[in-house]
Symmetry: C2
Subunit: 136 residues, 2 copies
């Protein structure tokens, strides 16, 4: 466990508390969401990007499986709830200003609904088109 950092009441600002402190203070946007990125625990590969509200964070921490808020369907969902391709969460990291989360995960299958291992399966070419990065 990291020790709580000493905080000077005279100089501490909300920004310092959020960036340097040991208190989890997610900075939700106007829709009550933070951005969440899933990274594969084994390979370190970026798997997917989604959004979480407070309930998604709570459910993820309670169950150990990644839950997100679907903006298009306006509901909480567990990744893999229909496909079985769940993401077991090894660790949750938070960025400096606490408006983004990194979920370090073990993936039970392809992370993308297209059945690609990662949602980021295409790269931009110099000509401005897209090409697949690998045959997955």
């Amino acid at each position: 466990m990291a020790k709580d950092r000493p905080i000077s009441s005279s100089t501490t600002s909300d920004t310092e508390l959020r960036e340097q402190g040991s208190v989890f203070l997610p900075r939700f946007d106007s829709q009550g969401l933070v951005t969440a990125v899933a990274i594969d625990h084994g390979s370190g590969r970026l798997l997917m990007l989604a959004h979480m509200n407070a309930e998604a964070i709570a459910r993820t921490r309670e169950t150990g499986f990644a839950h997100f808020w679907s903006r298009s369907r306006a509901r909480l969902w567990m990744k893999g709830e229909t496909s079985g391709h769940v993401l077991r969460v090894v660790e949750i990291r938070v960025d400096c200003d606490q408006d983004a989360l990194e979920l370090v995960v073990d993936a039970a299958g392809p992370a993308c609904h297209t059945l690609a291992q990662s949602c980021f399966y295409r790269r931009l070419t110099l000509a401005g088109g897209l090409e697949r990065v690998e045959p997955d």
Copy 2:
């Protein structure tokens, strides 16, 4: 954004074109932005998360250095324009529905304005607090 849903096997739709095609069709949100994640080329580590509008994408492709749109300052900025800690872009990847980009980068210095190597320098503990993941 990853979603659990079956892939349509019927006729080609806009969704299929965007997900399976070779045309770069970024899906900007109502503010004209896509989410961008910077990944270190050497280590594969997640460095930072920011947003890009069409101009930031264009400037990044033209110059080879990561540009973003600052929502708080409402202006285009080049990462490292004041600190010198620029991000040289090796490759740009796009996710399935083209509303998120992965920038594979060589970082000239700490990616975070706090001078941490990555903005994601703290993890959530079981007790619900934050602890630093390493002394960077």
